[in-house]
């Protein structure tokens, strides 16, 4: 795996709708900009060999960083793959939609649920939103949220931006009735 750079965002929300949020609501995103492992190879039918090699390396790189950046127990999480214009979205999906990637985060976050994800193909500097859900109960409505990210100079056409996102709580000032109240 060839990494060009690693970018970390931490957001602390101290007030929302004019009301103080205490403690501040924290979210973190860590992104790795890597060379697309399939760049220049044309259509590759069997993606498994490079999934087996690259996905675990990415999981091991990103999972501890996002947990450390959050600095608090992870309550909600999500993942992202933004593929440069010369690649297939399938290349990004290949790297993130495998237990070989996601289980690193699941273990680090004491999580059990599926990781919600965003995949898209885009030029460098695209803005993307990473969806997050609760780490053990994907129906916990207070924890449905998104976090925005962008890397100005990535992905290049032959790169992929792969990321993990974590939140230490649900939405600030969350006050919707639980799903169960409508069933």
């Amino acid at each position: 795996m060839n990494v060009r750079k690693i970018v970390t965002f931490v957001e602390e929300i101290h007030s929302e709708g004019g009301n103080a949020v205490r403690p501040a609501a924290r979210t973190a995103v860590v992104l790795a900009v890597i060379e697309n492992p399939w760049a220049g190879e044309g259509f590759v039918d069997d993606l498994a060999p490079l999934i087996d090699k690259v996905a675990p390396e990415l999981g091991a790189l990103l999972a501890p960083r996002v947990v450390e950046a959050l600095g608090a127990p992870v309550e909600a999480y999500g993942k992202a793959a933004i593929v440069g214009l010369d690649g297939e979205i399938e290349h990004g999906s290949a790297l993130i939609h495998t237990l070989k990637f996601g289980d690193h985060f699941r273990t680090a976050a004491n999580a059990t649920t599926l990781l919600p994800a965003v995949e898209k193909r885009a030029p460098a500097g695209t803005v993307f939103d990473i969806p997050l859900k609760h780490v053990t109960d994907a129906t916990t409505r207070s924890h449905h949220q998104t976090v925005e990210a962008r890397v100005a100079d990535a992905p290049r056409a032959d790169e992929i931006v792969v990321g993990l996102a974590a939140a230490a709580q649900g939405r600030p000032q969350a006050r919707l009735a639980p799903l169960s109240s409508e069933q």
Binding site: N2, K5, V7, F9, E12, H14, S15, A152
Partner: protein, 199 residues
């Protein structure tokens, strides 16, 4: 009244490789940005900005500087610094300048990292989501060419028209693979030689 600070965003960037080869030394750049209520919003033209600057700027500088130092792993890791402000469209750019271009802000950042240089800066008025490129230079020797660099910050939902994004930035070293010499190594060039230069 609304709390002063709506949110604080901290971004770090580690460049590991350039053009496919590992960089000579991994530099970490960090930016911390506080989204605040514009303290002069709704008051029309305010002649004396000093009282609010005195109230607001030092606590912002402390909050941002602390996050930069944490992000870089210690004050001694800071080699270059910069500062910036993005004023929401209902404010004056002067409001942002007021918060960053006085000792109430700059001295806090400079002292915390044992700097002596003036601090590189940028300011603008813009809609939410506008990216701003923050210039950085060396904290004690601002003419150190290897440390001329920038880092970009963008907050998707800020500044609202009545807000200001106040920004501080730091770097742990030079540009990746910096190799354009310095004023001590430049050969002597006469301006007349440059006049005839064509691409």
């Amino acid at each position: 009244m609304d709390p002063l600070i709506r949110k604080i965003v901290t971004m770090t960037e580690d460049v590991v490789a350039e053009l496919g080869r590992p960089v000579d030394r991994i530099t970490r750049r960090a930016v911390a940005a506080a989204v605040i209520r514009n303290p002069w919003h709704g008051r029309g033209y305010v002649a004396d900005l000093q009282p609010e600057v005195r109230d607001v700027a030092p606590c912002l500088a402390r909050a941002l500087t602390g996050r930069l130092i944490d992000a870089l792993g210690g004050a001694d890791r800071v080699e270059a610094f910069g500062k910036a402000a993005i004023v929401g469209v209902d404010g004056e750019t002067e409001h942002g300048s007021a918060l960053i271009h006085t000792p109430y802000f700059g001295d806090v950042l400079r002292d915390a990292v044992d700097g002596t240089s003036i601090i590189a800066f940028a300011e603008q008025r813009a809609a939410p989501g506008a990216p701003l490129t923050v210039p950085l230079w060396h904290k004690t020797a601002s003419a150190t060419r290897s440390h001329y660099q920038t880092v970009e910050i963008r907050v998707g939902d800020a500044p609202r028209p009545d807000e200001i994004v106040v920004i501080a930035a730091a770097s742990s070293g030079s540009r990746p693979n910096a190799r354009i010499g310095d004023r001590t190594t430049d050969s002597a060039v006469e301006i007349t030689e440059l006049e005839g230069a064509t691409p």
